[in-house]
Symmetry: C2
Subunit: 252 residues, 2 copies
């Protein structure tokens, strides 16, 4: 009967439906039952294509919807009056954009596509209405927001206490892990962002990023060729993260 219903849906709707999406295990509806999944198929009525370099939204624009990355790659950034910028995150397929906008009903950063991308539009008022019917969706949404807070606090740790090598090691391992979750190789991937954008995210200058990557290559941890990264020695990278030299000298 469910299959009969979907069969008569217009093709367009079928294509859009969360229940048919191969990202459903990564995206907002993760953990929903088949029934619940079917219930939210009408939530996404709209997709948006964003070309590389274009913005999905900009600081100050009214907030109306969250966006789930369907394909492509984004960065979010905040700008200071004098032009200095901080990249606050990189978002890939299945990840949510726009959470920053709920609080003030205005977006609090720029979201910019780093490659041609497509997003599902989740009108937030609709979403909150669904929460009343589907407690699991509400609960999962709270988890997503909470994890975003924890992720941000991890970035604070990066920026506040780690040295350049540790930041880069953490960054590469994080990317590797997220690519893996999406079915790509953990050992090999292409960076979608420039050295400057990596630096801005990690609180470093692009020259430092470049130098540290070169050093990692000399040490046999990775191979770098432009945007292509091959992780040779993941354990070695993890060691960079956990082992400050003076600490191991003193204690280990």
């Amino acid at each position: 009967m469910a299959s009969h219903l979907t069969a008569v849906k217009p093709l367009a709707a079928l294509r859009e439906a969360c229940s048919q999406c191969n990202l459903r295990e990564l995206c907002l509806p993760v953990g929903l039952s088949a029934d619940e999944l079917g219930q939210i198929d009408e939530l996404v009525k709209l997709r948006r294509r964003i070309l590389r370099g274009q913005s999905l939204y900009r600081t100050g624009e009214p907030f109306t919807a969250l966006y789930a990355v369907k394909t492509g790659f984004f960065k979010t950034e905040i700008l200071l009056a004098d032009g200095r910028e901080q990249v606050t995150g990189f978002q890939m397929a299945g990840e949510l954009l726009g959470l920053d906008g709920i609080g003030m009903e205005k977006h609090a950063c720029n979201a910019i596509a780093l490659e041609d991308s497509e997003v599902c539009v989740l009108p937030f008022a609709d979403l909150e209405r669904y929460f009343h019917e589907i407690a699991a969706l509400q609960h999962h949404f709270h988890k997503v927001m909470s994890r975003e807070i924890v992720r941000d606090q991890g970035v604070m740790m990066l920026l506040g206490v780690m040295r350049a090598e540790e930041r880069l090691a953490a960054f590469l391992l994080n990317l590797s892990q997220r690519f893996t979750a999406r079915g790509y190789s953990p050992h090999e991937f292409n960076l979608r962002m420039t050295r400057n954008e990596i630096g801005s995210y990690l609180g470093l200058k692009l020259e430092t990023v470049s130098r540290v990557l070169s050093r990692f290559q000399e040490e046999g941890l990775i191979q770098v060729h432009q945007k292509h990264i091959r992780i040779i020695d993941p354990a070695g990278l993890k060691k960079v993260l956990s082992a400050r030299q003076d600490f191991t000298e003193r204690h280990g």
Copy 2:
């Protein structure tokens, strides 16, 4: 009639009730109607006293509840394996603690009282149940979480791109603004945290914090005496924030 009803409530309940709390305009129930406020009076069944230096919760402990600071002052911190720590925030009356725990159902940081404090315990499962009945509460909760995300991204900006003086200026202005919202003087307050904790929050060493505060004093921006701060020239502090020297030289 409302006064009659509250009069017959047990004294304990009266003391606990959100509708009677003088923080209701700052805390989670902000913006609720009187009716809605009455509805959540039973949410908080428990208060906890935390002595100075004690923890409200620690990393890894199971998450069951959010906490609203009733009186006192907290810090949240995350620790690296080698002992380095990052203070991720300071929380004062009316602010919420524990949002970090929702995602993984375990707390992701330590919350430590910087003075003898009292918190209202908001069992999270109960809270989510209230959301179904009170849409405004649900919506406001989402705003609170979103603002926490935006706050964290502001800290990333601090840590990623600002110089030491800018970080301290932003920190002092932020404290001043939050004290003001609580009815205290914008110009004069006591720091509840040590130089070391300020430094950890701002990604600086305590000596640097001390030096910058001394410099601000020499420049007539503030007066510092131990933990007591008097802001003499708020506009001057704001200028420290917005005006990078080389930028104003080039463009101003």
